[in-house]
């Protein structure tokens, strides 16, 4: 395949970026999108040019590190797929492809296609955990969990924290991410002791990081590589209202 690539280049966090055009030949349909970029980088290195920086780690769709907006869609055209798992057979010979970083004020671009998503880590630090005193593990049957609740909690926990929801949202709202984390714990017995405090402090942190307000357009759900449902946003709204009204702190 022969491709025309338009790639966002930006030297560092302070500099202004621009779209750069590249021609790439000999791309195989079996390559993943990131392997295609590897080939481009080989070519750039041979030409003595600076390779394109992009984030990646597992390359098997589980870590949430890869973060490319391809033709305006975070993770590209294939539903429920991270861009590391996206294959070039999804594109046609002669295609033009626009590759940009995940964009949001809270995700500053630090180089080329890499944006700094540590805001999500700070939201987790604000409450996305349960406090457990380490000791001997208690008997598993002491905490009954219904099958339905366990399944639903698992659906929420499928979030890999890649930030595609934020990148896709015209408001850069992180509601789907926070909602997935809040719901995952709210659905399970282990999450109960810190339930109210958790939702209040995670939402507070989300505001401090500068993420936008949700307008229920559901673009987040559409691009989520793990298909996390917006029903968790509704659940978080309920959790938040309850916690806000009953907050004793």
């Amino acid at each position: 395949m022969k491709l025309t690539l338009y790639i966002w280049r930006q030297k560092n966090a302070k500099s202004k970026g621009f779209m750069e055009k590249h021609q790439l030949d000999g791309v195989s349909e079996d390559m993943s999108f990131l392997e295609m970029l590897d080939v481009l980088n080989e070519q750039l290195i041979h030409e003595g040019k600076e390779p394109v920086a992009f984030d990646h780690d597992c390359r098997e769709g589980i870590c949430g590190t890869c973060s490319l907006t391809i033709n305006g869609t975070p993770h590209g055209p294939e539903a429920a797929t991270t861009c590391c798992q996206l294959h070039m057979r999804k594109f046609k010979d002669g295609d033009s492809i626009y590759i940009e970083p995940f964009r949001a004020k809270a995700f500053p671009v630090i180089k080329d296609l890499i944006s700094d998503r540590s805001a999500l880590d700070r939201i987790i630090q604000a409450g996305g955990f349960i406090s457990v005193n380490t000791n001997q593990a208690q008997d598993a049957n002491a905490l009954p969990v219904s099958k339905e609740k366990a399944d639903l909690a698992m659906d929420a926990a499928a979030c890999i924290g890649c930030g595609a929801c934020i990148a896709a949202c015209p408001n850069a709202s992180s509601m789907l991410f926070v909602a997935a984390k809040v719901s995952q714990f709210a659905l399970l017995p282990q999450g109960q002791p810190e339930r109210k405090r958790r939702v209040l402090s995670m939402v507070e942190q989300m505001h401090q990081e500068g993420f936008g307000a949700c307008t229920n357009i559901y673009e987040c759900e559409a691009v989520c590589p793990k298909q996390v449902s917006v029903r968790f946003i509704a659940q978080m709204n309920r959790e938040y209202m309850g916690a806000y009204m009953k907050n004793e702190e």
């Binding site: 033709n71 004020k105 015209p170 307008t215 229920n216 357009i217």
Partner: protein, 259 residues
Amino acid sequence: MSIVSYLKSTILSKIVMAVTGIILLLFLIGHTLGNLQIFIGREVFNQYAYFLQSTGELLWVFRAVMLLSAILHIVTSVYLKFYNLKAKPQKYAVTNYVKATLSSRTMIWTGIAIACFLAYHLLHFTFGVTNPEHTKYNGYVEKGAGLYVEYNMPVPELIEGKYIEIPDGKILFKQKDVYKMVILGFKNPFISIVYIIGVIIVGFHLNHAIQSAFQTLGLNHPRYSPSIIAGSSTFSFLIALGLISIPVSVLLGIIGGVA
């Protein structure tokens, strides 16, 4: 704690949007059903309008609630719009929406259009500013004669809402001829078109708004949500259709032949 401190939380802001939106929607439903009575006839319609006018303090309480809801709805949405623009300062070179509907992405613009339309609507019919010649007509109901109505009688000294005896022994009751006001207004094709466009924009806004309010208030369930979304669209369509039917019927001469 100031009254607008809820703006610090995007979730509370959304709840304010949903609740004020529902209040405004409930009014719109009542307004639509009430106005459709114009198809029953002049007497019924004028009687209905008179009933609304005669509720006294209740009318002012009602107007205050509507005004407050509208102000909170507008202030919150404008605040959130600027908040959101700040959260996404840089747009993509290529934009591509997978799921977001046009009506969901244009809420602020349809909202602004509705605010302008509402202002015009109030100036036209409620305050009689833009076309005072539409709002100056009165009707006279005869006491004891049920809904017998004599229009265009030259007894301008009658006081609205009071019974008075006229020389030929009849006891009359003066009320605004709201029916004639609507007919005169919509006989003007320019005004009718403004109304039709305004109402279509309202329907477009509601299409996203209704189902969005459910989501904001935490009502989302895989079993009900598809019906909520479909119901939201159908309902907005029906509201718009109901309201459009009035100017269209006037323009086609289906109602108002007498005016």
